[in-house]
């Protein structure tokens, strides 16, 4: 498979996954904004939206650019802004453009599916979104992502192309597992204050619902919703299809298949990351500080992304050339 094809497919599915998770982020944020102010430490309507931007690491530049953080400004930025490369609008466009460039490597149904999503997205506007209701748009985004995933699974041969689509989807999803956990606020021990308990419960169950994981949680734990258990479900549970463990485990398997028995640095990194989530215990993670653990996982994930790029998406003749150049420079 061409390096360019591998890269385009990887980014097509990454962008679809990004669009879906952006919808989930907005969903959980809207739920949290429903919580009466007195329950919220931020004491302002904008607090949940501020946290959403924090989870993405863009609160400061956002404030600088728009001068305000409120629901409408954030929604427009995340959904429609043409100058935000990660807005849902741009994600659907990028996924469709990549698929258009790689029509040969995917099935006609897959391209038609992405093309339909893009044509519908292109035809929408803020006024129309407002008129139809944000919830409908979020449902639509999730269903378009599900549709593409389904068409891919159902029509594409299990060759290299399929594997690169998998890589893109799971590396993106792993990233969001960490960021979405961040948004509900860090779990902390509290002294059984009743209103605090209610707020905590509200926040964590909102997160589970946005991730379509509420039922999984109930079946798995059969106990009240707690911060510790939610963190475990999001990070370390193999039964949760969106957990960090599931994502890194899948990445490791796919990369092993792609490596075909060769020793590659990219496989080692994925294996290490997968093992880190598989053998961790949530009580230890919390005791040693969740935030630091999450930051470390994010950094390793980003390193894995770079290594995938280096291994498969840069041609060896160019890699050798750059190597020679850097050697002669040294």
């Amino acid at each position: 498979m061409l390096c360019r094809t591998a890269s385009d497919l990887y980014w097509a599915s990454r962008h679809m996954e990004r669009a879906e998770n952006t919808a989930r982020l907005i969903d959980v944020t809207r739920r949290m904004a429903l919580l009466p102010e007195r329950y919220d430490r931020g004491k302002a309507e904008a607090a949940p939206w501020r946290r959403a931007l924090d989870a993405l690491g863009i609160a400061e530049p956002f404030l600088e650019r728009y001068g305000i953080i409120d629901a409408d400004t954030v929604l427009k930025h995340l959904l429609l802004a043409s100058d935000n490369p990660s807005s849902v609008f741009n994600c659907l466009r990028a996924a469709r453009e990549a698929a258009r460039a790689q029509r040969v490597a995917i099935t006609a149904e897959m391209y038609e599916d992405l093309n339909t999503s893009w044509l519908d997205m292109r035809g929408t506007s803020w006024a129309r979104i407002h008129g139809d209701g944000i919830s409908n748009l979020l449902e639509w985004i999730k269903s378009r992502s599900a549709s593409f995933r389904g068409v891919t699974i159902g029509t594409l041969g299990r060759g290299e192309g399929y594997h690169f689509l998998q890589l893109g989807a799971f590396i993106e999803r792993a990233d969001w597992a960490i960021r979405l956990l961040d948004i509900a606020g860090s779990p902390e021990s509290h002294a059984g204050h009743e209103s605090q308990d209610a707020a905590e419960y509200f926040r964590w169950s909102a997160l589970l619902q946005s991730l379509s994981a509420f039922e999984t949680y109930r079946r798995l734990y059969r106990e009240s919703v707690s911060a510790e258990r939610v963190a475990e479900l999001m990070l370390l549970q193999e039964t949760n299809p969106r957990s960090l463990l599931t994502c890194t485990h899948t990445l490791h398997q796919v990369l092993q298949t792609l490596a075909g028995g060769q020793a590659m640095e990219v496989v080692r990194r994925a294996g290490a990351l997968s093992a880190q989530s598989r053998y961790a215990r949530i009580d230890e993670v919390l005791a040693n500080g969740l935030e630091a653990w999450l930051q470390d996982a994010l950094a390793r994930l980003s390193g894995l992304g770079d290594e995938i790029h280096r291994q498969f998406m840069i041609s060896t003749d160019i890699a050798q050339l750059t190597q020679t150049q850097s050697q002669s420079a040294a």
Binding site: C3, R103, Y111, N115, E160
Partner: protein
């Protein structure tokens, strides 16, 4: 201007025999249902993404080529004649190319003027003396045919560089079979679906000698190109890689693709980029579309380019008038298909006649393509004619002129209902060990009333083309 030969109706209004099955369907189908089918076609084409972008418009602007529900139908007997004529013509054109880049017998014998060929900007000096595998220069040819007032077919022009449009032939057929399957049961319509298979076959046959299992790739300028859909479509249908220049590199005179598993040899390139962009070290130096060193690999016989560079000299409008002579010279046969009578303005007599009759003639730039550099006398204003006159006088050798043919018409759905619109036909011919003439082609239709320009870039549409099997 006469209304032209009507493909469906006889002059007194009766329906021609080969259109009767379609006519019955048309009359027995409620208007609302037909309207639904037309809408369905439009939505389906949009969803599949069969679009083209127009030069001169903002890049990335994609439009649909309008598809018309009324097919162009060619009776079996007529097609037998066309097929023989196309086979003969493409055979002779390939012999001509092999000759002018080789021995140049036809020039020595004075059949075609030496300067017309050797000083033609489409003549590639770099190809002089090169022997191509199987002697095939134009592997894929599209020959544009029109039908004049008396119903006789004429060759309007030959396309031997990178003829496009074949994806519409295939997609239009798929659409018709989906919308009106019952018509395919009522009569025998020759299938066109084998085209990608035949294309792969002739491309593999063109591989350099000694390669058992050649790797074929389609080379595209990229997704911004107006025909990108077709490049992707053909690569997909053939099951080969679609590559851009940057995906290929040349090492030790061999061409490799950059793949996730390292370099992979490529033996045959179906290139959909023009000659001058193929290799910046030989042709246009600042082109980013091609592959540095590609021509060197080609000359070394390590890779085949289809079509070969330099085929443009045979389809140039200044060479076109000599094709009937080529057929006689190389094949000792009489041409089956006729040329449109052509005035060559580099000749003094022809120039004088043309300047006196500009309002009746069609004048074309010899190296022009896409319907941009032409004057359709009867459809032009006085000012336009005078402006064109100055252009002709500045460089007469740059132009040819032809009588304005009243192209045949076919009923077409327009806003006011069904109305006759002018059409042409581009059949596709594939040359490998054998010559394959695909029974069908791309019928283009000028949607504006009275217009004779069918190019998609000028507001043309397309129709499915049915070649009937059996019968007259």
């Amino acid at each position: 201007m006469a209304n032209g030969f009507n493909e469906m109706h006889e002059p007194l209004g009766g329906v021609r025999p080969h259109y009767q099955a379609f006519d019955r369907w048309l009359k027995s189908t409620p208007e609302a249902q037909i309207e639904r089918k037309r809408r369905e076609a439009e939505i389906a084409f949009h969803r599949v993404g069969i679009t083209f972008s127009v030069y001169g418009e903002e890049s990335g602007n994609e439009r649909l080529i309008p598809f018309d529900l009324v097919p162009r139908i060619v009776p079996a007997g007529e097609w037998r004649m066309l097929e023989a004529g196309l086979r003969q013509r493409v055979h002779a054109l390939n012999l001509f190319l092999d000759d002018v880049y080789g021995e140049q017998r036809i020039l020595r014998e004075g059949i075609v003027p030496r300067a017309l060929v050797l000083e033609n900007s489409a003549y590639r000096q770099e190809m002089r003396g090169i022997r191509v595998p199987g002697g095939t220069w134009s592997h894929i040819s599209g020959i544009d045919l029109v039908r004049a007032g008396d119903g006789e077919y004429y060759v309007l022009e030959d396309n031997l560089r990178v003829p496009s449009g074949v994806s519409y032939m295939l997609e239009n057929r798929r659409m018709m079979a989906r919308l009106i399957p019952e018509l395919f049961n009522r009569q025998q319509i020759a299938p066109v679906e084998r085209y990608p298979d035949a294309l792969l076959e002739i491309l593999r046959e063109a591989a350099p000698a000694g390669i058992d299992n050649p790797v074929v790739a389609v080379l595209t300028p990229g997704s911004a190109n107006s025909a990108y859909f077709e490049h992707a479509f053909l690569a997909q249908q053939m099951g080969v890689e679609l590559v851009e220049g940057a995906d290929l590199f040349v090492r030790d005179s061999s061409v490799y693709a950059r793949t996730t598993r390292g370099p992979q040899r490529v033996h045959v390139i179906y290139r959909r980029i023009n000659d001058e962009y193929l290799d910046p070290t030989v042709f246009l130096p600042d082109s980013l579309l091609g592959v540095p060193g590609l021509f060197d690999a080609y000359r070394a016989g390590r890779v085949t380019l289809a079509n070969a560079p330099g085929t443009g000299v045979a389809d140039d409008k200044s060479v076109y008038p000599y094709v009937p002579e080529m057929i006689r010279f190389y094949l000792s046969e009489d041409p089956i298909l006729h040329n449109v009578p052509t005035y060559q303005l580099r000749r003094e007599d022809d120039l004088r006649y043309t300047l006196e009759h500009l309002a009746e003639l069609v004048v074309k730039e010899v190296h022009g393509a896409g319907g941009y550099g032409m004057l359709v006398g009867p459809a032009s204003t006085k000012a336009e004619i005078e402006e064109f006159r100055l252009r002709i006088l500045a460089r007469p050798e740059n132009y040819i002129a032809q009588p304005t043919l009243s192209l045949s018409t076919c009923p077409t759905f327009v806003e006011s209902g069904l109305a006759p619109r002018h059409i042409d036909l581009r059949p596709y011919i594939l040359c490998g060990k054998r010559i394959h003439v695909i029974p069908g082609g791309l019928t283009r239709v000028a949607l504006r009333e009275g217009s004779l320009v069918v190019n998609s870039s000028q507001g043309g549409g397309t129709k499915d083309t049915w070649v009937l099997e059996g019968g007259a």
